[in-house]
Symmetry: D2
Subunit: 342 residues, 4 copies
């Protein structure tokens, strides 16, 4: 922690801060610059909060943290990459996985039709919402336990492991009975009660990035899970809120590259929510693979124009099959240099 | 709902859309423009989702909602302004209220000292966190039930009604035993399980705006509460996430004015979280009153530099007292026109 | 400047960085912490760029600036507050000024009618656009020199000093002939060629904050003007771009308070562009005065529904007159504490 | 244009609006819904502004545009894709081009060393800044004409066409003498004077997206160029401003896909400014190619740690060569479905 004294700080104020740094169990290193006096507080990183509060001590202009607040998710803690197993599927082993299925589970037929089609097209896992977080209370809220039962049937029929969202601590048990992987939605990324409960679960967790969460806040949400005992965590970038309204959200693929630089956890991408536009899903999916994502989670519906949620961003069965083909196409060759020195 | 056909739409595609509009129980009004054909879907606003899904029907370029999705919170539904009663305090009756207290309750002494001081300075209610939503799992997470007990003592001693955050459906019952008003934090604004549970509570709710929630999303979160049976809801603007990093968040006072234009619910402002800087709290508080806010919620700590959370934005007891005086000062007089026509 | 070495940095890499710090004319202060080695580079703040480039030196994890990059605009440089004179009007002397007029000057009659009305209602200065920065090339681009001539006539008739936008270095001379104050629009806040040219002007400058400019970037834009010789600068907050779309921009009143804390320059507020909604202008204007703004700049049009630009946010003549009355009303009295200790 | 009347609108107000729509030369189509009356204004899209101003007519709640404001840049106007020729290089013909070079031109040696190295590694064009838009007036502002002369020498030596930024209308002529392509920087995307001047230039233009420009605002800036006579325009996505601070900006690759869906113009990507981090440039560059970008523009410096600007995001010569190899690598193969139906 670096403490920057203001230009008008008195020696007395400086002494007080030095004293407080020592009380926090840290060693104060004082540098007197041309304009500012700087105190480096060395040691005891767990005194972070107490040191940060010195921002309001008299004579202090700023307190600047210099270490990252996350530990267990970091590559300092674990050098190699984590692989998360969901049934027979490995996420993070170098071969990107594709998770596909409807936004909401609307009926047994809808789910089974979709499940078979996505499996046939090459998907590795099935997604489908039983409990839906909806902005409006007047929107379809999901079929609940009935949908979980359909998921179980679909898994039995297709062999695909299933992932579904859990919205409340109270539902963790029932959802865990039916699902192979539990999803924390973007709106719940900082629902710390839910995170603490899921930390005790034996199920792997798919942790979506919050709508306005920084990369570090996202990693700290994962830290709650690891610290509580569950290290089977997959991160999912799904677009962030920005001023741009042409796309539903703004997909942040640099965040995928950076999350993999900072953390050993696998990172996948949700191109459906990120763009909100069916026509962009395929090209953005390719970009996600190219940037190094460990997988994709894609919304597919047999009849998007009759979907009860997220129709505009859902691929139909044929569209998903084309997407899978498209993901296998090679990148275009670069233009060759035609430059000739004079 | 307005459906805009693309310039290349065929008559067949148009017929299909018209058919679907009728299936949704709406009446299609077709306008043929120079470039685009427009279909107005008139009637049955509860078919919103089904109509929106037509965005992916062939030949459709866009589907544009024209009605707001919230009802019970709107001024169409209730013309007069709602007043929310918390103990003997009325929020929304024209006289702004001040809620003050520490971010976290750290000890009985800390809370009681603060409670007495803010009461003496004129505060109407006491705030204090027992369960703290913290970005990092390594940060102080609150004293829980012990803190609730201190709150009860503080209320008995000072007579001030108390508000505290509830983070989980499981805690609603215990928190309701101790607190006069339950706060939903910004990170939980779209924790729909929690909203549904609180809709059944008899306690008034303080609903903070989410970090990246639009005004309409905020009102829809309140709609969950009203629709579920609890109309004792106070909205709280506490700053939104933007690119600006000099302040902790960006306080959106236009949103206060607009929320009051769109809804009958009272709206208060949290200048502490919005700015994250003690030096800005007083001037921003005055602005909030001037824009029409029904109250303020302000962080106060006897010794901010030793606070376990949010020290940098907390006022000390003397600072709070000065703030209260400052709120009573008149606005500066405008410059007089010195213009003289030639 | 603080240089943070990575945990894996070698002694050789450390030596190299220390050497480079010395080459930059700075004194390296090394603190060895538990996890990281920190080097404070003391002295020669003008080597900022060279030191920042060390971010890519081997073994360096981060380089953290600790001094603000602006000087002449800061309160360290000038302790008292600057007052900018525009004709007989003082901006920044404690009595807020009101600048009013149409977005675009559309005709002589339109401008004169507005000018007389705003003067009669108490405005101190007249605004009006001759050159309009329009997002679309198909929108009305302003009447140019003809509009400048109307401004001159309006000033002669009403005695109000006038401010108008200059969009290009080439227009600075002609606009300076007619206007008392030159406005730099939000889209040109970082048009550095224009800033350099205006630094040589003798006219006072109204510098709008860029649509996504941080407070520090805004102050650095002003620094271009002061460094080039023009210290007659008024800052204008006019809303920033955020995810919120209900208002045209998000008014950042905390930025007004902070800009006045960091700088000696006057700061005014444009509630019209900030909100884009006529109904919010009055309450937001009061908030601006309450937060400490030195003035307001407000769009007024005799017939907003026929305005060639910005009609939705323009007040009509009657509305402006009511606004001025509203600005004189006292703040509402706070609720009195009814608390009684048990 | 859709005009939505408020629920409280009177018949008289409705008649007035209908009259105004006719005055604007449009045909009013009235639909009476359950809650709202809607008027479709059909015809004469050039009356956009006048119709939008009706938002403030009595009884009107909202005015909703239904056509895009850009024309010449759209795929409705030109169905095929545009190819922009810069010397012997084709941008937009399916084979992505790579433009590389230093942020600032610092010396003849620095530029020539870089130019030869990037050519040898396969770059198609050379970039380098002569006039630098710098946030702070105290930062290196570029060598100006001297740098332009170095660019000319570098082109002669390497055969690579060169692109450089022009910041002011006054510099267009001199820069055009030396450069093959003129760049409009992000901060100047809405410098309409500059756009109008460049519309008359015979040089192709590289138009960077503004820091907070929506996709539509970006296309409208290009529309200024095409409308003025210059259709040799390449769009460049370079990251937008968001709340995320770990990366310098947030790269918006969905915008690349969408810009290509909406417009016939080529679109390239600047991964250096977008991320601001050298370590992310390679993976993000691959993603850009995968999403369909027509090229990349990358900052390369022989000695980034001594760069006078943008060192942290510049690749060194070896790093650039590795990047080019990396761009040729195939995408990873997807995980194979291991699912077996029960």
């Amino acid at each position: 922690m670096i403490i920057k004294m203001s230009v008008t700080a008195t020696e007395e104020e400086l002494s007080h801060v030095i004293e407080r740094v020592k009380e926090c169990g840290c060693d104060p290193h004082v540098s007197r610059g041309v304009e500012h006096i700087i105190i480096g507080a060395v040691g005891s990183p767990d005194k972070r909060n107490e040191l940060e509060a010195l921002r309001v001590a008299r004579g202090v202009e700023d307190v600047i943290p210099i270490t990252d607040p996350f530990k267990l998710v970091s590559r300092q803690y674990k050098v190699g990459r984590s692989i998360v197993k969901v049934g027979s599927v490995n996420i993070g082993d170098g071969a990107p996985v594709v998770i596909a299925g409807p936004c909401s589970i609307e009926s047994r037929a809808q789910l089974l039709t979709t499940a078979r089609a996505v499996r046939d097209a090459g998907a590795n896992m099935l997604r489908g919402g039983a409990y839906k977080p909806r902005t409006s209370p007047y929107d379809f809220q999901g079929l609940g336990v009935e949908a979980l039962q359909f998921l179980k049937i679909a898994r039995e029929e297709t062999g695909l492991p299933v992932v579904t969202e859990v919205m409340s601590t109270e539902d963790v048990e029932i959802v865990s009975e039916y699902a192979d992987m539990l999803q924390v939605g973007a709106r719940n990324m900082q629902n710390f009660s839910l995170l603490r409960r899921l930390a005790q679960s034996k199920r792997p967790i798919l942790l979506k990035r919050g709508l306005s969460a920084t990369i570090k806040e996202w990693l700290l949400a994962a830290e709650y899970l690891l610290m509580g005992g569950n290290s089977q965590v997959v991160l999912c970038e799904r677009g962030i809120k920005t001023f741009e309204t042409e796309t539903r959200n703004t997909l942040d693929l640099s965040a995928v590259a950076l999350a993999k630089e900072l953390s050993h956890l696998p990172v996948i991408v949700d191109p459906s929510h990120a763009t909100g536009r069916r026509s962009l899903v395929a090209s953005v999916s390719r970009a996600a693979i190219a940037v190094g994502a460990d997988g994709l989670i894609i919304e597919v519906h047999p009849e998007p124009e009759r979907a009860l949620s997220d129709g505009p961003q859902s691929l139909d069965l044929e569209g998903f099959s084309q997407l899978m083909d498209h993901l296998d196409e090679p990148l275009p060759k670069l233009a060759r240099t035609v430059a000739v020195a004079a």
